[in-house]
Symmetry: C2
Subunit: 653 residues, 2 copies
């Protein structure tokens, strides 16, 4: 990997080919002016290439002299080999102390699952999907060999493929004669093993040899987004992944508002149709891009939270929100794809990864499966931070799970300029402790549209470390930085000014946002603390931490610890699962053994109801501070605060 | 049973209480004038009660003197105790020779299955229906015991009833939460075992205790009629039987014309809807009369010919009529009642008795099951004479079956005044060998509307025995009996004159009818002969004969032999199964072991295709005579002809 060395700070960092100098600076802990998110608009991130070369886009912000002198914009210059760059004084927002102050502020991500991790995980399970497609050539009937079409198919499937007794769909029966004759007695039979203890079921008979066209779909049905992955069930190959907003969003942002909507007249049917429509849109795209025929997609494995799965199946979810919070099912029967409105093979089946409770659904089981907890002796904490914070503590032997109504703050909900982690979302925020000026990077380095979860965590951490806000999330309005202001009666910090934003307005983080964010992070921390208390354990005992969710991918561990979202886990313990729900569904799609493992996880998991747990309430109240009422639990944060104060004249309250 | 003695003939007969004197005369072989079918219209059947009493309706046909002298109308007088009656000369149509000539012409029916036979048959199979209804009281969920509704139901069904793993319908899932709560956690679970090798399937969850309301429906789906029997699956009790014309009749009389209709646009869907509508009509009546709730009817077993079952399932039957005559299926998968449009319990299942071939369907398997062939060592001939003549030869070890396109003559089709065996149909015909005047009895002793199958066989036999027709079915027009006439160029015999018929026109049997009837009986006889030849056996080797079909119930064995429909079976070998299709379906409904036996019958049966069998064509041509080209195969018929000739001056040709 290319090395980038920054002068005058003498910080060096390895980055991937194609990474921008702006991100390299972030990784190196070097502060560079950047208030447009890296979109090339503000022109403040000029650096001078002193050795090596970078690929730069032309910029009207640079004078011919600057260009001649080796200047480039850090945001629009990408690295392809070793390079040394100098950050000019005006890009450093003050003197070099700001860099020195950040000596330990390189990004601490933990590590994502590596291809090797995934290889091992998938290697655990032999390729053994629930469906099989068997090509068979039948002798044409004669007056002497005059058994019925179905009996002939049974006979040859038994003779050629060793298939024993099977049941079949009515629709299969209705098309059997035509398929056999259209294929001139050469057909592909699709069989599904839909449940334990059942003989296989014939779900399709198609003319000709389609045995090599055996496709499945793994789907993560999130409250906000739906992601689908098309998989070749013959060889495990992934043929594409697509994602889209869950169209149910028009009926409410979170599971509770969806449940409320489902109680309206035709509400349930509408919600069912909307999510089916979203999945069909993804199928359309996958089919279009891969060239796979939709009629060859014969199996779907979905994972989602319990409410999403109820709505996907068209099942009244009302009892999920009423104490004692009982869903219709946690173990979800296989249904026909047509029953839930998916446009794939006639007779295709849908299975959903089992969940444990109304608020610990199949997405969590799938994530635990993807995290490999089912085979680990290590004490593991699994956290999925989305609209709800769901988590589980345990190992292959036992699992204790809970869910806390974290609220949608980290998904961009209930935050003034919050948004999902999509293009244009601010994902990295740094605030210079001297000038209290921000440095921001957006996803795709586009002009900023709002702030996503990781950006919010960064922002809170930075505001706290620089003393702009106090432990209670209240602004210090006496710092003389015009970005800190009161707008319509509410204090806020302006991250992006209207001129540089994509929305034509300032993007700010308000005291109300901070209040929500602190409550959200407090709930998650309290959940973890309560699980640990329940097992009479401390955070130190946790040997590995898996963080799942689209959010987790961008999470900066140090910053999450700084705001007290997570206990002080060391970087080497933390792994990011990414979309664990999709990954788990993918595993279950490929292997019935994985399905068994998922069922085992769901069965063995104990669920702790937090909403009525007095210990949780205590933990929650204690966590409504930055980082926590008990600051001794956060020694590294205390160190960081002290260092910021020493180095950058931390704003006194 | 009361005894009826007839003077002057000194013939005596035992009849059931309530039997009419007219039928008693028939049974006794005594000829009485009766040209109105026994409806009391013609006034010709006057007899004088000499001892004992009868219950008579008043008749305007009798003078006060006659009434004072003990005269009654034989047709409207019923027997309740021993009685002696005298037939006056004018009622005898000549002298007493007509009676003497009929010395051996008592009705030879063979015997119907007795209640004892049925008891033994049903006793073979323990009560073990495919469905069970289990009442279970669930502990209400709490925050501590917070598993899903489905998991709770599984847990309690396992704990209380030992139910293991089960699958379930989507509709069941969709209503589960509401049912559990409506029943305050006391519910009845309905489970079905839908196929071998499968775990049970939950098909219903109803509030409260409905375990004692466990009903099933046995259905015979005939081409012409549909019969349904409602059965209590808890105790085998029959709760009613209803029958109705198959509404598909509007689309054609026989299976071939139905198949042709099915090829029209929307034809298949229409035929499916029509038969479902017919069954729903029967269900409506059964529910109305029995007080059973339709939602408690959870299982249906149907039997029918292969085409009827294809149409009932909405499956294209076109290949059934195209060589090599291959149906989609002979072993018919279980489907949801809703799929085939039956209005019973949501989730109720439909199963059909398996068949063997396109023209030996589940109705035959059911009949063989009802006849007990599966447990008999005796060489058995089973015949079902309907629109087609289907038959099987064999025993518990082996079965050879065939079907001959007998045509609908015996069901009233292709015969000028033919009709089904319903009220007003002529079912018994006697012709006085001296006067060549008829004596007829209708079903229900109503004014004649037409002639049903048994009446036609009687008529042909009588016309032949009296010499009115010859061996080729051609009329002798020189006998001077005005009932024998040429009408619109076709010779015919008038059975009922317009004044006494219910249709305001003469009811006659024509030479064209005779032609059809001889071809029909010839085809059936040829089928039997071909089966025997195939096994290198003769008719004498047959140890028992079962005759099934609504038709069989009224069949007079002697007459059937006289026309050469059947070989000369002795009366003691012949048993009438009645509606064997319904009886077999009823057995399968009650017991999964019976279902297995039916499957065993269908599997073990060999099917002989007659349409391309040269031996069959030879046998058929030989059988186009009365009784047969080879008259030596019919010694008793030769005797009867000789006796009729001696006694009644048989009309010479």
């Amino acid at each position: 990997m290319p090395r980038v060395r920054f002068h005058p700070n003498q910080r060096e960092v390895e980055v991937a080919v194609g990474e921008s100098l702006l991100r390299a600076a972030i990784l190196a802990g070097v502060h560079v002016n950047a208030t447009c998110g890296g979109s090339g608009v503000c022109g403040k991130c000029r650096v001078v290439v002193e050795r090596g070369e970078v690929d730069s886009e032309p910029s009207a912000k640079l004078t011919p002299e600057q260009i001649a002198g080796g200047s480039v914009m850090a945001c629009t210059s990408t690295v392809s080999g070793d390079v040394e760059v100098r950050v000019p004084v005006e890009s450093q927002l003050g003197d070099t102390r700001s860099v020195l102050a950040r000596e330990h502020r390189t990004i601490t991500h933990g590590s994502a699952l590596t291809p090797k991790d995934l290889g091992e995980l998938f290697g655990e399970f032999e390729l053994d999907p629930a469906t099989s497609r068997l090509y068979v050539e039948l002798p044409a009937p004669t007056l002497e060999d005059n058994i019925g079409d179905l009996e002939r198919l049974r006979r040859e499937l038994a003779r050629v493929h060793g298939v024993g007794d099977f049941t079949l769909d009515h629709s299969c029966l209705a098309h059997l004669a035509a398929s056999l004759r259209a294929g001139e007695w050469k057909v592909t039979a699709t069989l599904a093993r839909t449940g334990e203890g059942e003989c296989p079921r014939l779900i399709g008979v198609d003319p000709g040899d389609r045995s090599a066209r055996h496709y499945g779909l793994a789907v993560d049905i999130g409250t906000t987004s739906v992601v689908a992955e098309l998989v070749d069930l013959g060889n495990r190959a992934s043929l594409g992944r697509e994602s889209e907003y869950n169209a149910q969003i028009s009926c409410g942002d979170d599971v509770i508002s969806r449940i409320v909507y489902s109680l309206k007249k035709d509400g349930l049917a509408r919600l069912q149709g909307l999510v089916a429509g979203t999945i069909n849109t993804l199928i359309d795209r996958l089919v279009e891009k891969s060239g796979v025929e939709r009629d060859d997609i014969v199996y779907v494995v979905a994972a989602g939270n319990t409410t999403m799965i109820h709505l996907f199946y068209g099942i009244d979810p009302r009892h999920i929100r009423e104490e004692p919070y009982i869903p219709t099912m946690n173990f979800i029967p296989t249904v026909e794809a047509a029953t839930v409105g998916l446009r794939i093979a006639r007779g295709a089946r849908v299975f959903c990864v089992p969940g444990r409770a109304s608020y610990v659904g199949g997405d969590i089981t799938a994530g635990l499966l993807a995290a490999g907890v089912f085979r680990s002796d290590k004490l593991t904490l699994f956290i999925d931070i989305g609209t709800n914070g769901e988590m589980a503590l345990g190992n292959a032997e036992w699992l204790l799970s809970c869910a806390c109504s974290a609220g949608p703050a980290f998904e961009g909900g209930s935050v003034k300029h919050g948004m999902r982690a999509v293009l244009g979302a601010i994902e990295i925020v740094r605030i210079d402790p001297d000038t209290l000026e921000p440095m921001i990077v957006t996803i795709g380095q586009q002009r900023p549209k709002g702030i996503c979860g990781s950006g919010l965590i960064d922002a809170v951490a930075e505001l706290f470390l620089t003393g702009i806000i106090n432990e209670k999330g209240k602004f210090n309005l006496d710092l003389g930085q015009p970005r800190i202001r009161v707008n319509a009666g509410i204090a806020e910090y302006v991250l992006v000014r209207a001129a540089e934003s994509a929305i034509g307005a300032d993007i700010a983080i308000t005291e109300a946002d901070l209040d929500n964010l602190i409550r959200t992070k407090g709930a998650i921390y309290a959940g973890i603390a309560t699980l640990l208390e329940q097992m009479q354990m401390t955070a130190e005992a946790i040997e590995q931490v898996f963080i799942a969710g689209g959010f987790g991918r961008y999470l900066e561990l140090d910053q999450a610890i700084t705001i007290g979202l997570l206990p002080e886990f060391s970087e080497d313990k933390v792994k990011y699962v990414g979309n664990g729900s999709l990954l788990g569904a993918h595993l279950v799609l490929l292997s019935r053994a994985a399905r068994e493992s998922a069922a085992g996880i769901a069965r063995s998991m104990t669920y702790l109801e937090l909403s009525t747990n007095p210990g949780f309430m205590d933990n929650y109240v204690s966590a409504l501070f930055l980082p926590h009422t008990d600051q001794h639990a956060f020694p590294s944060v205390l160190q960081r605060v002290a260092r910021a104060t020493r180095g950058g004249e931390r704003a006194a309250h």
